[in-house]
Amino acid sequence: MSGGTGESRIPAAFESEPAFVPYLAAGDPTFEASLAYVEALERAGADVIELGLPFSEPIAEGPTIQQAVVRSLDGGMTVERYFEFVAALDVDVPLVCMTYYNLIYQYGDEEGPEPFVERAAAEGIDGFVVPDLPAEEAGPLRAACDAHGRDLVSIVAPTTRDDRLQRLVDLSSGYLYVQARLGVTGARASVSDRTTESLARVAETGTDLPRAVGFGISSFEQARDVIAAGADGAIVGSALVDIVAEGHAEDRPPEETAAELEALGRELKEGALAAAEPEASQAD
């Protein structure tokens, strides 16, 4: 794959149009099938892909992604296999590694995040999202990302206010992950008022970082609505993982599951684009 050395490709991904940012757990349920699933999402129009590196204690995840983590780990996923996975992927979109801090911290002989970031960068990872790493503890990872030209994406929660928010804005690069509602990951029926409030608070900081909204988005309408509310991207995880889970449970051929992922992916990308064309829709 492309990537490797050089700078992160994430900033460019948000430049021209609203972004569709899918998440899948790498290796769910098998290495080969999962490669096909990620590639299907690229064909669907993904602008950035968040690629989960499964950790045994996923405290920020709801049941859907918890099960994905179990399937992937049962399928033999390890940190080394994850890097092989990234290297084997035939996609040309920026990749964000989403994982928990202990796996980053343990990698390599030295303690600390630098060896992990160096290796990830070499394999083609552009940035990182680490749900259990608040600004208080993120200094070492930020420094490692700077040293290797990678992005560190922070999660902005509905409870994040004032000086905490400013601190996250200052710490982050690539984009801000705006958490749509309190709780854990998982598909939901509608976009909450809190998303709009959070986006407004971020806007007030004057940052020009792109804002991608995630937690609960599962449909064309929701993708459209979060973009209309001011987001620059829509992050979708559980709704896609549900398709993988169903395919696995029903023992469907991976091509069929990949086709379904691609279809939902297209719908979500179209939803994101639909909001960006207000003139067109008014002209109807």
Binding site: F55, E57, A60, E111, P134, P158, R164
Partner: protein
Amino acid sequence: MSEQQQRRDGKFGDYGGQYVPEALMPAIEELTDAYERYVLGNEDGFMDEFRRRIRDFGGRPTPMGRADQLSERYGTEVYLKREDLLHGGAHKLNNALGQCLLAKYMGKERIVAETGAGQHGTATAMAAAHLDMPCEIYMGRRDINRQRPNVFRMRINGAEVTPVEVGRGTLKEAINETMRDWATTVETTHYIIGSIVGPHPFPSMVRDFHRPISAETKRQSREAFGRLPDAVVACAGGGSNTMGIFSEFVDPRDSDPEGVDDVDLYAVEAGGSTLDVDEERGVAPNSASLSTGTEGVLHGARTKVLQDTDGQIMESHSVSSGLDYAGVGPELANLVEEGRVDAVNVDDDAALAAFHRLSQTEGIIPALETAHAVAYLEQHDDPSELGEYVVINVSGRGDKDLAAAMEETAGRDLPNAPEMDVFDGEGLR
């Protein structure tokens, strides 16, 4: 040391910290502020109310008494600090009542907690009922099955008990699930974590609520034998009873700091069935994270954890649910690293034998967790080397463990176990 322990970032040497989702951080900042004002600063008389309630409702101070037969057996003066006599049957109420009261002072409306052995859940359910707060307890399925009496107690006190089905169904999974609840309900809910684990300020705050154990131990030692003990022995899961009885010897805040550095401190971990680790299957058949774990990040803190080389957390094992955990409190990890506390361990068999021994020789049925501390003396080549006066923290009573202990005993060759075959069946379950 005391200054270090109160650093705002909650670091104990390299250990500790705050590794939690951003959504929880504002609540953790609010809690840190409340801890500093109410607990450390006694604002609005918070600590006065805590002391009054832990006395009138909890039954503090708990007694400390000489174990006559054990003293003879080991050739040293053995004293038992009786936390099993605290209301609820374990030290856990100190922390549960303290945090529940703090949640009230903070204006929170609901309590959540995890539980392993069910002792912390039971103590939380009692404190919540006492202080009129709704409460929900998360408990792994496996632990529900092996600690049923405590499930009944929680329900009878009015708590919701929510089974956690994922993973192995023990304490680690229960903590994960409680954190998920808290991440959803954080604006109105307080999470009463059950040991000196988790993000700052939990390890310091939980220790401080258990601090009366060591303050009383010092005073009672001077009364009983005119000086401080030579050694203090406590079991360690997360390490709350451990730091509870160690804290005034490590970082004296009462008016009696003299001689504390000369007191040897032993944290007894669960050696399970063996200290060897099955890296392939991700299983550590023990819970000895201080002795065999490596530095990692688990449940909000950097500490010693049982993990594979990637950093995936291993499944732990112990005959006692309350010690069955892959991590340990960051302060205890640091004290072991600094050499102030000795980490030792005893296996399942030795703990079960000690369970029967204390029951038979002193008339005290200990919790299986506590039995590990008692077993350490038996395991020691020459217990008199521990010193002239040894205090064991009897962290809890064993009523909750009767079924599990008899079942585990039946499968082993324990010379001191009572013959129970004639009662087989209904009577025991």
